[in-house]
């Protein structure tokens, strides 16, 4: 019996690395290519050299819609300094995504995660979720959820990374 239990523990330990884990700070941001709401294909790796804030959102998520205009302001303020925001709609439908983005008045690329493959890749645990990636493609900050005032933290991280 102890041998059998030991074998199960060993098997579980071997399986642990194979289980997916949420993207963490210092991981290389998983690359993806998604279609934006205006029809162009956008690839994360092509933004190497820029600081990128990837914001995962859904149209049914209130805090997501609340956060969007603030992200637009950050994008407008720093895009000349090598920064961009990429919005990723996790529902996978371009129509509702375009409508919400248009109402929020965003100008940054809004991508549609058809099939939820990128959401699975990043193993999101909450909505909205924001991941800040540095110029070398490494994750430097992960923020789960949104409440008023959180944008101050985004600004702090983005300013620090742009300055490097």
């Amino acid at each position: 019996m102890p041998m059998k239990f030991a074998k199960w523990v060993a098997a579980a330990c071997l399986c642990m690395p194979m289980m997916s884990h949420a993207v963490a700070v210092s991981d290389v941001a998983p690359d993806f290519t998604l279609k934006s709401v205006d029809g162009t294909n956008t690839r994360l790796k092509e933004f190497r050299g820029q600081v990128v804030l990837i914001n995962f959102w859904a149209s049914w998520c209130g805090p997501c819609r609340q956060e969007m205009p603030l992200l637009e302001r950050i994008d407008e303020r720093y895009k000349g300094a090598g920064f961009t925001v990429l919005g990723v709609n996790v529902e996978g439908k371009a129509g509702p995504a375009k409508e919400v983005a248009s109402k929020a008045g965003v100008s940054f690329p809004v991508l549609v995660d058809e099939g939820q493959k990128v959401s699975e890749l990043y193993d999101l645990e909450s909505m909205p979720s924001s991941v800040v990636v540095d110029r070398d493609g490494v994750v430097r900050y992960v923020h789960k959820g949104y409440k008023p005032g959180d944008e101050a933290k985004y600004l702090e991280v983005v300013k620090k990374l742009i300055g490097k």
Binding site: T33, L34, K35, T40, N41, T42, R43, E46
Partner: protein, 206 residues
């Protein structure tokens, strides 16, 4: 996969250990040289402080050793990649699909979907940069996988913008016989000036 990772880790540790031993020897020699009595005349004749010359020689030697280790690691990485491919996709079942383009006016590629024996195996979106790279002669390895020996069917769906900017979707199907050797399928998109349309051709080798 885990064995290969373990082997790579073991070889890396051995290389670092070997480098560490060499570095220790080099440092030990440096210490010996520093401890040796220095003649004032020699130092003044050389015009360079005695401690700098051996230090510079050692750093050059360390630099070249580092380069050698880096080259060794790159070679090892390449060999491991080849071994991994042989392990995951043995020749008897391997099929690889490559995409190339020779278009200008008639087709702007947006995406390619591959179906192998009726099952979706890949869906790839192309950015403008990637499409430009293909147009300039790049060849993309779109898919590599395993199939059973015998008759197999591959269908490729190309989506993009055709002549006059209209949405364009075309498919091409190829049936091939899988033998013991790896099978390579080339998908080529080219302009047909006779028809003023893009052409999508699939060829199999061997």
């Amino acid at each position: 996969m885990q064995r290969i990772a373990f082997l790579f880790g073991a070889l890396l540790l051995m290389s670092v250990a070997a480098f560490g031993d060499d570095a220790k020897d080099a440092l030990a020699d440096d210490n010996v040289a520093a401890d040796a009595p220095v003649s004032a005349d020699t130092a003044s004749d050389a015009g360079v402080p005695e401690s700098d010359a051996p230090a510079k020689a050692d750093s050059a030697s360390l630099g070249s050793q580092m380069e050698d280790i880096k080259h060794g690691l790159l070679d090892l990485k390449r060999d491991l990649a080849v071994l991994e491919e042989d392990l995951l996709y043995p020749a008897s079942s391997q099929v690889a699909v490559f995409l190339s383009m020779d278009v200008g006016e008639f087709f702007a590629l947006d995406s390619v979907t591959l179906k192998l024996n009726g099952k979706d195996v890949t869906h790839y979106l192309y950015t403008q940069k990637q499409a430009d790279a293909l147009f300039r002669g790049g060849v993309q390895r779109l898919f590599v996988g395993n199939v059973k020996q015998g008759q197999n069917q591959l269908t490729a769906f190309f989506t993009g913008r055709g002549p006059e900017g209209r949405d364009y979707k075309r498919a091409t199907t190829v049936t091939f016989e899988k033998s013991f050797e790896p099978s390579y399928v080339e998908l080529k998109i080219s302009d047909s000036t006779a028809k003023y349309q893009p052409e999508f051709v699939a060829t199999v080798s061997p």
